[in-house]
């Protein structure tokens, strides 16, 4: 009974400065799915922040897209080893969404339509490090890439940038999300190669 290793190692990859260790450059945008792609009509879309004390704040699509937005150009790094440089997005900063929320929570759980979750420390959402993006490359975000809106946290592995987001719960203690519960790293820093638990 040998442990098999999946075939990522055999191919020679383009080596580019600015890539985290173990990553290769791709020019397409691979789609990873842990389930069926949810199709969410905009009149049924909402995003809700629930605090650790049970307070809730929600935005519907019109309210959300009326918030101040930012155009950002960032590099993204997937734990399956592809990286894509200079991707352009438009979205609402988490600083904006969390501005009027009363909380002392140190951790958050991102929730998505379809049931996906991922945990992110609060400080990684603040100070211009995270957005809820609804445009990619100047176009509305396709459902395959997480539309109507997805999380964008480019300094962590891309599984933290949850597709089809619909909420954020604020927590006093860290808890694993969907992939973290199945062996992936709780934090996921690509520069430290934090791919799996214990890395």
């Amino acid at each position: 009974m040998g442990i098999i290793s999946r075939g990522f190692g055999g191919r020679r990859r383009e080596s580019v400065p600015g890539l985290p260790p173990g990553q290769y450059l791709t020019h397409d945008f691979p789609v990873l799915s842990a389930g069926p792609t949810p199709r969410i009509p905009l009149d049924r879309w909402s995003f809700t922040i629930a605090t650790e004390t049970g307070e809730k704040k929600s935005w519907n699509w019109a309210e959300f897209t009326a918030l101040e937005s930012a155009d950002v150009t960032v590099d993204i790094h997937c734990v399956t080893k592809w990286s894509k440089l200079g991707t352009t997005w438009r979205g609402v900063s988490l600083d904006t969404l969390l501005a009027d929320v009363e909380t002392a929570a140190d951790y958050t759980m991102v929730h998505s339509f379809g049931g996906y979750t991922t945990n992110v420390p609060m400080e990684d959402l603040l100070d211009g490090k995270a957005w809820i993006a609804y445009k990619f490359d100047g176009e509305d975000l396709e459902p395959e890439h997480g539309g109507p809106a997805r999380m964008l946290i480019p300094h962590l592995y891309f599984w933290k940038s949850a597709k089809w987001v619909n909420g954020l719960s604020l927590m006093n203690d860290d808890e694993p999300g969907f992939w973290e519960a199945a062996g992936y790293h709780m934090y996921g820093d690509p520069w430290l190669e934090q791919r799996y638990q214990g890395d």
Partner: protein, 87 residues
């Protein structure tokens, strides 16, 4: 992206169990549905295999392959019934 069926997951599980799991039966924690592992609807082959219940779409099994380890997550199963060889 189209899902495969759970027989592909049985290949991963063969690394973990010494019994043939193609015929193993799961019981879904979400809806209580019980069926062969081979009947699971399989998604997410890049980060790991995600086996969803064909009855309620809840996640029943997840297998993540790290270079030096295999993780089997059974959050979505209340039971896995494995046939013993020769019985």
């Amino acid at each position: 992206m189209n899902p495969l069926d759970g027989n592909a997951m049985a290949g991963d599980l063969r690394e973990l169990f010494t019994v043939d799991v193609t015929a193993a039966r799961y019981t879904c924690a979400g809806c209580g549905h019980a069926e062969a592992v081979g009947a699971l609807v399989l998604w997410g082959q890049d980060m790991g295999r995600v086996g969803r219940c064909p009855h309620c779409e809840d996640v029943v099994l997840r297998v993540v392959n790290a270079p030096d380890r295999v993780f089997l997550d059974l959050h979505g199963s209340v039971r896995l019934e494995l046939p013993l060889a020769g019985s």
